[in-house]
C-alpha cells in the first residue's frame, strides 16, 4: 500500500512583468515519478534549487501540480474539497524552527491544528499530552517557544503535526539550523516515529542523516535521478560528486583507496562497517615518527590579539546574573588560521564579540596589535575595523539596493576616499568569487550562497587585521558550503589575514585550521595545534563535541590492532597512511 503516488508531476513558477503579462516560466519540476510505500523512512537529497522543497509542498496540497498527479492515500492532492483531509494525513515540518510556531505557549501550539479542525477540547487535551510525551517535551508544555533551544522548538513543531495523527510527516531540512545536539534530538525523534509506523520523508543535506533512511532518492533539475537503498546510492560516488553532493567520509575514503588499486568494498556507510572491511586486509604497522620535537614557537611573529583574564557577566546585579566567559586568557599570532569550537552556550560567541569591542569585558583586557582596545584615548569604532566580525546567517545584514553599495558600507564608515572604496569593493568581491556583473544586482536577487559571500565581502573590504567568522557555512548546501570555505581559505593564503573560524562542524574546521581553540562552560578548554588537539580526542568527546567520522574510524582500527596514528582527522591523511600500511 502506498501513501504517496506521484506521476509525471510538473510544476512551474510564472514570472510576471509590470503589465501583468507572463514574461518567463521557471520549470521547477519536470515530469517526476515517485511512490512512497507506507511506513518507509525516505531521505531526499539534492542541492539547493533542485526542486525538492517544491516537491514536498505538493504532498499536502500547498502547491498544485501544473501537470501530472499526486495521490495521497487514494485522494487527489489537488482536490480542494479534501484538502484538510490530506493535510491531516501528511504533515510538514520546515527548516526554521521559529517560523512555524504560532502560539506563545508550547501546549497551545501543539493544539493549534486540532483547534483548527474543531476537535472537542477534552480530546485536544489528550492528544496534545500524548504528542508532547512522544517528542519528550511534556515537561516544557507551559514554556514559551522563545525560551527553548532550536532542537526543542523543532520537536514542538513535530508534536504539533503529530497531534493530527498523520500517516506521513515530511520534514524539509529540519536540522539545518540546529547545533549538533539539536540535530541528534530531532533525528532520534524521526526514527522513533518511523518505528511506530509513521512514514517519514526527510529532505536533508547531511549524509549522516540520509544513511539512516530505508531509501534515498536524489533529485536534480526537477527530476529524480537516483533511487535506491543508502548502500546502493552511496557507492555511486562519482555521480553524487558530479551533482555537487557529499558522500559519507568513510565511503569517500574507500573510494580513494579503490582508485589507488586497493580492492575494498564501497558499500560502507558507517565507521564500524568500514573498520571491519579494512581490518580484513593484510596490513603492516604504521611507524610513528619518533616523537618529533614540538616545532619551536616562532617568537618573531607578533600577537595580533591577546585576551587577558577576560571575564564577562550578563545582567550584573539582577537575579539573572550569569557568567558567560570565565577568566579566559589566550593569545593569537598574526596570520594564523584558528578554528573555534564549543557547543551552544560554551561562551565562544561571547568571546569573539569581545575581540572587536561589541561587548565590554566585566574584567580583564583585550589587546589588538598590542593596544588595549578599551584604553581611555581609544576609539572603539577603529577597533571594529581592525577586527572584522561576520555573524551567523550574515546575509541578514544586507540592506543596500546593489551588492556594490552594500560591500562599500564598511569602507564608507571608515571615511575612505571614493577611489580607495572602489578598489576595496572590487578586491573584496573578487576574493569572495563575486563577478563584476553581480555587483550591480540587488543583493536580494542572489542565491543563498552568493548572499552569504556578499556579506563576507562587506567585512573583508574593511581590510581587517583579524577576520572572525561565526558559522560562515551554516544552512548552505554542500556545494555552497565548500565554495564559501574555499574562498575564505584562499583569501587567508593570499592576504595573510588572521582568521578565526567558529563552527559546530569539526569536519569543516579541521580542513583549514592550523590551531584549534576549544571553549567549554565559559572557560578555555584548550588552544593547541590541530594535531595536538586530536591526540586527546577522548576529552573532546567527554565535553560533548563530535569528532569527524574519519577520526572515529581510526580509533576503531586501533582497537582492532591496526594503528594508523592518533592524528587522523582528514580523509587525505587517513588515505595516505592506509596506502602506506596496507600490503596490497
Amino acid at each position: 500500500m502506498n501513501i504517496i503516488e506521484v506521476k509525471g508531476l510538473e510544476f512551474e513558477y510564472k514570472a510576471y512583468d509590470d503589465n501583468g503579462e507572463v514574461c518567463g516560466v521557471n520549470k521547477v519540476l519536470r515530469g517526476l515519478d515517485l511512490t512512497v510505500p507506507r511506513g518507509q523512512f525516505l531521505a531526499v537529497l539534492g542541492h539547493n534549487g533542485c526542486g525538492k522543497s517544491t516537491l514536498a509542498k505538493h504532498f499536502n496540497g500547498i502547491l498544485t501540480a501544473s501537470a501530472g498527479s499526486v495521490i495521497v492515500d487514494g485522494m487527489d492532492a489537488s482536490d480542494e474539497e479534501r484538502v484538510f483531509d490530506i493535510r491531516q494525513k501528511v504533515g510538514m515540518v520546515f527548516q526554521n524552527p521559529d517560523n512555524q510556531l504560532v502560539a506563545t505557549v508550547v501546549e497551545e501550539d501543539v493544539a493549534f491544528a486540532l483547534e483548527n479542525l474543531g476537535v472537542p477540547p477534552d480530546e485536544i487535551r489528550k492528544r496534545v499530552d500524548v504528542a508532547l510525551r512522544i517528542v519528550d517535551m511534556y515537561e516544557y508544555r507551559e514554556h514559551s517557544p522563545h525560551q527553548l533551544s532550536g532542537g526543542q522548538k523543532q520537536r514542538i513543531a513535530i508534536a504539533g503535526i503529530l497531534a493530527m495523527k498523520p500517516d506521513c510527516i515530511v520534514l524539509d531540512e529540519p536540522t539545518s539550523m540546529l547545533d549538533p545536539k539539536g540535530r541528534a534530538e530531532v533525528m532520534e525523534t524521526i526514527k522513533l516515529l518511523n518505528s511506530q509506523g509513521v512514514t517519514m520523508i526527510l529532505i536533508t543535506h547531511y549524509m549522516d542523516e540520509a544513511v539512516q533512511a530505508d531509501r534515498v532518492v536524489v533529485m536534480d533539475e526537477g527530476k529524480i535521478i537516483m533511487d535506491g537503498t543508502p548502500k546502493e546510492i552511496f557507492v555511486r560516488v562519482d555521480e553524487l560528486k558530479a551533482h555537487s553532493l557529499d558522500v559519507p567520509q568513510v565511503t569517500d575514503l574507500m573510494y580513494g583507496l579503490r582508485q589507488n588499486g586497493i580492492d575494498v568494498p564501497l558499500d560502507v556507510l558507517n565507521e564500524t562497517e568500514c573498520a571491519n572491511a579494512l581490518l580484513k586486509l593484510p596490513h603492516g604497522a604504521y611507524e610513528k615518527p619518533g616523537a618529533a620535537p614540538a616545532a619551536p614557537e616562532n617568537d618573531e611573529i607578533p600577537y595580533v590579539a591577546e585576551v587577558k583574564k577576560l571575564t564577562y557577566k550578563y545582567s550584573v546585579g539582577t537575579p539573572f546574573e550569569a557568567t558567560a566567559v570565565d577568566n579566559v586568557s589566550v593569545s593569537i599570532k598574526k596570520g594564523q588560521f584558528v578554528g573555534v569550537i564549543g557547543h551552544t552556550g560554551s561562551g565562544k560567541s561571547t568571546l569573539i564579540q569581545h575581540l572587536n569591542g561589541l561587548l565590554r569585558p566585566t574584567s580583564g583586557e583585550i589587546l589588538i596589535n598590542g593596544r588595549n582596545i578599551w584604553a581611555k584615548d581609544g576609539d572603539i569604532r577603529k577597533v571594529r575595523f581592525m577586527a572584522g566580525l561576520v555573524f551567523q546567517y550574515s546575509e541578514y545584514q544586507l540592506f543596500e539596493d546593489t551588492v556594490y553599495k552594500d560591500i562599500a558600507f564598511g569602507p564608507k564608515n571608515m571615511g575612505l576616499t571614493e577611489a580607495e572604496i572602489d578598489t576595496r569593493v572590487r578586491e573584496a568581491a573578487a576574493a569572495m568569487g563575486l563577478s563584476d556583473e553581480l555587483l550591480e544586482r540587488s543583493p536580494f536577487d542572489l542565491s543563498g550562497g552568493q548572499k552569504r559571500r556578499a556579506a563576507l565581502a562587506g567585512v573583508i573590504a574593511m581590510k581587517p587585521e583579524i577576520l572572525i567568522l561565526d558559522e560562515p557555512a551554516a544552512g548552505l548546501d554542500p556545494k555552497g558550503r565548500d565554495t564559501v570555505l574555499e574562498e575564505i581559505s584562499e583569501f587567508h593564503r593570499q592576504s595573510g589575514t588572521t582568521i578565526l573560524l567558529v563552527s559546530h562542524s569539526m569536519e569543516d574546521i579541521v580542513r583549514y585550521a592550523e590551531k584549534i581553540l576549544v571553549m567549554n562552560h565559559g572557560r578555555l578548554f584548550c588552544y593547541e595545534d590541530t594535531d595536538v588537539v586530536f591526540s586527546h580526542t577522548r576529552e573532546l568527546t567527554q565535553i560533548g563535541l563530535g569528532i569527524p567520522q574519519i577520526s572515529r574510524l581510526s580509533h576503531l582500527l586501533k582497537e582492532g590492532g591496526f594503528d594508523i596514528g592518533d592524528d587522523i582527522y582528514t580523509i587525505e591523511r587517513a588515505k595516505e597512511r592506509l596506502l602506506k600500511t596496507i600490503n596490497a
Binding site: F94, D98, A103, N116, G118, M164, F391, F399
Partner: protein, 269 residues
Amino acid sequence: MLNDITIGQFFPGKSVIHRMDSRFKIVLIIVIMVMLFAAQNFFGLAVACTFILVIYAASEISPRLMLKSIKPIIPIIILTAVLNLLFVKEQDAQPLVQFWIISIYMKGIETSIFMFLRVVFLIVGMSLLTYTTSPIVLTDAIESLMSPLKKIKFPVHELAMMMTIALRFIPTLIEETNKIMMAQKARGAALDTGGVIKRARSMVPILIPLFISAFKRANELATAMECRCYKGGEGRTKLRQLKATKLDFFASGAVICVLGIIILDNILL
C-alpha cells in the same frame, strides 16, 4: 536596552485572583474603575481604594510591584495634583494661602487629593489585571467578550489571532534587532552618535534587514499554519476553555456590593 522591555508583565501564581475567569476579571476591573470615578466624597473613595487594596492582597503580588507600576506615571500624577491645587477656585470662600498670583482654596486641596488617589488606584487596578493574567489568556478573554461583534462582521477572531502572533514574535524580533544592530556596528555603523537626522538615517541599515526578515517569517508562518489546517475562525475549538466558577460569581457579588455602597453613599450624603 531592548531586553528590558517586558510585554504585559505577567507573574504566574495560584491566588484566587489568578484563578478567576479572565473575562470576569476584565469586566470587574472596568467596574472598579468606574467606581473610582463614581465616588463623590471621601468615604466613597476610601471604600473603593480599600477594596482595591484588599484584592491586591488577595492576589499575593508583592507590594513592590504595585509601587513599580505607579513609578512611570509619577510626574503626571504630580502635575495633575498641582494643577488642581492651583486652579480650582471656590466662590465665596477665603483662600487658605495667598501670595503673588497664587491662591489655594480648601476645595483645591480636596480635588487634588481626589485626583491623586483616583489616578494612582486606576493604575494599580489595571496592573493587577496584567500581573495576574497571562497575555494569551487575556487575548482569549477579549476575543470571547467581543464575540457578539461578529454579528456585525467585525473580524474578532482575526484580531485575536494577530494579537497572539504579535505576542509570539515580539521576543524573536527583539532578538533579531539586536543581532542586526551588532552586525552593522561591526561594519562601523555609528548608531548612537550625531544629530537627529543622522541618527534616523543610521536606522536604515537596521530597519531594512528587519523588515525583509519579518516578511520572510510571515510568509513561512503562513505556510506552516496552512499545513496545520488553518482556515480562519469558523468552526474552531479551543484547548483552554474559559470557564466561570463559583469564585467568579462570588467576586462579581462582592464588586456589586461595593458599588452599591458607593452609590448609596452618593445619594444619602
